[in-house]
Symmetry: C2
Subunit: 451 residues, 2 copies
Amino acid sequence: MSRKPVQIMETVLRDGHQSLAATRMRLTDMIPVLEQLDNMGYFALEAWGGATFDSCLRFLGEDPWERLRTLKSHLKKTPISMLLRGQNILGYNHYADDVVTAFVKKMVENGIGVIRVFDALNDVRNLEVAMKAAKESGAHVQGVCVYTISPYHTVESYIKLAHQLVERGADSICIKDMSGLLRPYIAHDLVKALKADPKVGVPIQLHTHYTSGMGSMTYLKAIEAGVDVIDCALSPFALGTSQPCTETMIAALEGTEYDTGLNRHALKESVLHFANVKKSLAADFNLKTSFDVDTNVLDFQIPGGMLSNLFNQLKEQGIEDKYQDLLEEMPRVRAELGYPPLVTPTSQIIGSMATFNVMLGERYKMVPREIKDLARGKYGKTPMPVDESVREKIIGNEPIIDYRPADDIAPQMDLLTKQLAEKGYPNASIEDILSYALFPEVALKFFEKNR
Amino acid sequence: MSRKPVQIMETVLRDGHQSLAATRMRLTDMIPVLEQLDNMGYFALEAWGGATFDSCLRFLGEDPWERLRTLKSHLKKTPISMLLRGQNILGYNHYADDVVTAFVKKMVENGIGVIRVFDALNDVRNLEVAMKAAKESGAHVQGVCVYTISPYHTVESYIKLAHQLVERGADSICIKDMSGLLRPYIAHDLVKALKADPKVGVPIQLHTHYTSGMGSMTYLKAIEAGVDVIDCALSPFALGTSQPCTETMIAALEGTEYDTGLNRHALKESVLHFANVKKSLAADFNLKTSFDVDTNVLDFQIPGGMLSNLFNQLKEQGIEDKYQDLLEEMPRVRAELGYPPLVTPTSQIIGSMATFNVMLGERYKMVPREIKDLARGKYGKTPMPVDESVREKIIGNEPIIDYRPADDIAPQMDLLTKQLAEKGYPNASIEDILSYALFPEVALKFFEKNR
Ligand SMILES: [Co+2]
Ligand SMILES: [Co+2]
């Protein structure tokens, strides 16, 4: 019983409802149980970032910064964790360094304690500015290994990535498995290797989704291999496409050498509360909140929902008989483009490219801009090089960006401040300028009603 | 890689829909995919017994015997498994030996290959007649250890029970965890002990429910301890209060020394099919088919649904403030009654007794007949003796049945045959007589329409 307790990060306030309720949980749905959650002894409460920022402004009429301050005022003991897409902040394009830096500093000032920062390609250059700002702000900086399956993504490649993250100041490492691809015994080997490596030397946290149904088994084997923190959601927002269940993981480990020490019974009211919240979100926003597990995700690394969308696209064109071709084309396209992890938006991009290839009967005849940008190195370095002949076909002899992509982006804060002043907000706070930077139209609409 | 593959028993045709769709799956919902399931290489397909027999006659207008014959005609390679409540057959009272014997012989004649036989108290005397008939019929006889948590139910007590089952001819042992109480590391130790005991020496099968969310982890640790067969349901009828998911367990073990060797991709059509079946059952019978995991079951060993029923009973009496007393009273009553496993109907019986005790303010003032019968030994031997003073209070000096309870029951088949003749069915088949024996009113109504 010498092992230190496994810790839990609770995701019900962010990934739980992002996964099962279209990110529609409102601040008022959270407040009644914040004190109870704060008293639990969680490693952290994930409650900000990801899609919540956009959803606040776009759908809920909430100021995400104000939400953060309110959360912080109730959470006096437990750090608030957030998810950051590196140089993309919370979007899908790179921002200027001064915007990234200002965003990180402002969110820490407003209450964030743990910053989980990832890049869709695992290109650490896209994390550097955010990590530096986070370190300077005094937050806990968690560097991410985005988990995926490919010939490139071996245990060794993840060890190397972890070294790069630690060199850049990561206080801990998160293995982020967005689609539930990480199998139990693979997780065991990966965590074991990371824990054994003296150059890593920081706590390891594991994040998975229950999509394929393996999530709890994957945690269990990772725990046996020494993982320090696991991400879980309270039962009403667990399983399906969300995280493994908090109460279940606590219970499974009770009385073992891995005991979390958390008191499952102290969660009873919160569980009842969120069961009602789920019902009300489902009713108010007309949401489907329960999903069967689906192991197809293991074969194509993209969730079943996207597969049926692609099938329907083919059907609309009257070529649904090419569906099998499409299923085979997708991994081929991914390989030729250097095995990017399939996370939003790469999964959609690869899916579209494969669909074009199959529909037109000629490969890379029509090529979406995003594919060209990927080949140009505009998103960063792909895990393996883009196939030479494919690159030539889609961008010819165009120069390849072999430096940090954001080096090309001039500072933006002054310009944004000026723009916002011209739109009628000369005294906009830095927070409002940042909201405008990230989601200009949505933020302006929000300001019209609320400023 | 020397270990032999883990085998899977598929439960979608019985426990899957009994757990998630009120046992309403119709034969026509099964037929389209029987051939595909038959070709999978499952250890067995559980498709009969449990509540299906009653449901066929009562709700679906189907003859359960005819269903069995039709299933058998499609399932040429894979044995059909069924669940038998020992001397209770498929009900909650003991039947005469000649009825039990005739039932077992007829079901094997009509197509059953594997008989899983259990007694709610783990009293093997209640299994003897059924096991003997099953052995004589040539079926695979699986003896059950009903899993529960109590000071009596140690690994040693289960080893002892397994010995008794093997002595009576069990071809394999099933650990049956009805409510998802079995924790992963406990399962590991239990399976390990059973596998290591030379006097057990038969394959070990594990049956659990996902109620508390631990099911897949429990299987994984049991597999590491050497379990031979696990019970799983296809994804549309998995998780919630049903079994762990077939495709998930196959996937989690792929490429490991425990690989099932089953081809997950060959299940694709069946999965799509059953997803539609679930939708149609939910619509046709107005069913709720999805349930959040609920770890409360671990504390009271009864599912959350029954807890809320008890709470509502108290509320109707205006004494909902006694709910906490009730929660504490239930384990006390269970202890005093000798720690019976909480399975239908013992869970309901204990629940009612505890409710009376709390409502009336005096313990064992009003006592349901079933509690008296339990104390009388009418259901069999309780794991531990009934508390002396409680027994005296509820049945005074009445004699205790210390022999096999069914020894008191005279043969019934001739009488039943005569009764049925008088009701207008002089040429009733043995199968119809047995249907009438088990569910007299329901069977008669069915015969009126169908004979
Ligand atoms: Co996530
Ligand atoms: Co069951």
